[in-house]
Symmetry: C2
Subunit: 250 residues, 2 copies
Amino acid sequence: MIKRRKNPVEMIHTEPNLCSTDLRLHILHGVPFFASLEHTKIEEINQQIHEKGFKPGDYLYFAGDPADSLFIIAEGRVKLLRHTTAGKDVMLDLLIPGEFFGGLSTSSSSTYLETAQALTSVCALSISREGFRTILNQHPAVGIQVLDLVAARLEAAHDTIHQLSAQTAEQRIAATLLMLAAKLGEPHEVGLLIQTPLSRDELAEMTATTPETASRVISQFQRDGWIATGRKWIALIRLEELLQTAEMKV
Amino acid sequence: MIKRRKNPVEMIHTEPNLCSTDLRLHILHGVPFFASLEHTKIEEINQQIHEKGFKPGDYLYFAGDPADSLFIIAEGRVKLLRHTTAGKDVMLDLLIPGEFFGGLSTSSSSTYLETAQALTSVCALSISREGFRTILNQHPAVGIQVLDLVAARLEAAHDTIHQLSAQTAEQRIAATLLMLAAKLGEPHEVGLLIQTPLSRDELAEMTATTPETASRVISQFQRDGWIATGRKWIALIRLEELLQTAEMKV
DNA sequence: CGGTAGTTTGAACTACGTCAAGGGTCGTGG
DNA sequence: CCACGACCCTTGACGTAGTTCAAACTACCG
């Protein structure tokens, strides 16, 4: 059996007041939907933006809070989730720097429908709903970019629904690992490392199963030599086999 | 036991070439995201629109086809679905007049990711992706409307994921019936009638279960006097109890 | 080096899927 | 208008993937 190793996931250390103006501008330029704007315009937008740091496990907001801000991640990982009466959470998305979330539309609900929680130290930029609306009104190209991004997320959500409807826990877990690797994967001596802390519990929240079942499947994958894993980390080794397992339609 | 009745769902008879110019303009005015435009502008847009009729069971397009058009329903019901290798379909949405679907964004996949099938006779309006892009560029307000609608669908998809992850088949079916009634419900002597033909098979496709399980749950609801049902129709009687059943979160 | 949080594994249980047979409803054609 | 056939729905019996409960084990942190 493969010997377990120390956690290779790189820690993200974000001090409370890290986001320097330079970093903020850098992030804003990098954000897909502001990319089309001129530098001066972005500096103007920068004036409307607030920043805030969070520690791992901190909640950025809870479902039901008044949805007055749109967030953009500058650094760290954030998960979007819903709570269940039974206390079991459902993870809907895992976001990385450059991605946005929170109060997007004016017309829809005035409270957040999901909870946002930091998985690592996080630096988040935020802008008021109204401020964001103003930008959308002044820059149609930004609106189209945002539309495309939201449409892509809708497709991803439909993928998930499809998986939950038609696939086994093993298939969903394999598919989720591949998806995570595509988004967060970093080459590493132990394999293609999923660069975020991720417990069996959280993997279960993503795949609509229990921590026990996630553990059993992960253990089997490890026994097969398809992955390397440890406490809160997973690295993929045999992508081909995982794909084969997940496949029967993503 | 409640005696079963003849199908009270009103047939939609759409002749191949039904969409008169008047009806088209009427629909276009009614469509939420064109509502903000002036009449002359809508007539201009009307020039770019093609119409097509479909019979029940017809496919408007298949997943994998080149996604060159955006559709708007003028009349009828359309279901969006994905196919499974096992031949079991997964229904992702059920659309009514005024709703749009198809090739929405330019940046995302150039082929349709879902299949669209007519549940009834359907009259659909279509516009090319490029044509729609042009409208978006010229009318920022339209883009924002569309963004809000897509964001609302994303929320709905997240609701579904939540349900599939955390609820029993009975709860999901109760929730789905209530959702359908909110969208398609019409007061009727037999109860709040879900105004579309819907088989146990299709209900199963919507709730990630099998026709047999859907039938068992529906039969139980009927025995309890919560609904009235028959071949391809369902009417709700005791909303309160259904809500109670579904509840434990959406 | 001890404690906490995360992980693994086993054994019993259950909601649901599968397979199969029978019955009701509707449309069509005589 | 009736009768036949196709399609849809129902119900039962059985199998199983996955949950639940519980206990032991291990990585990591202070």
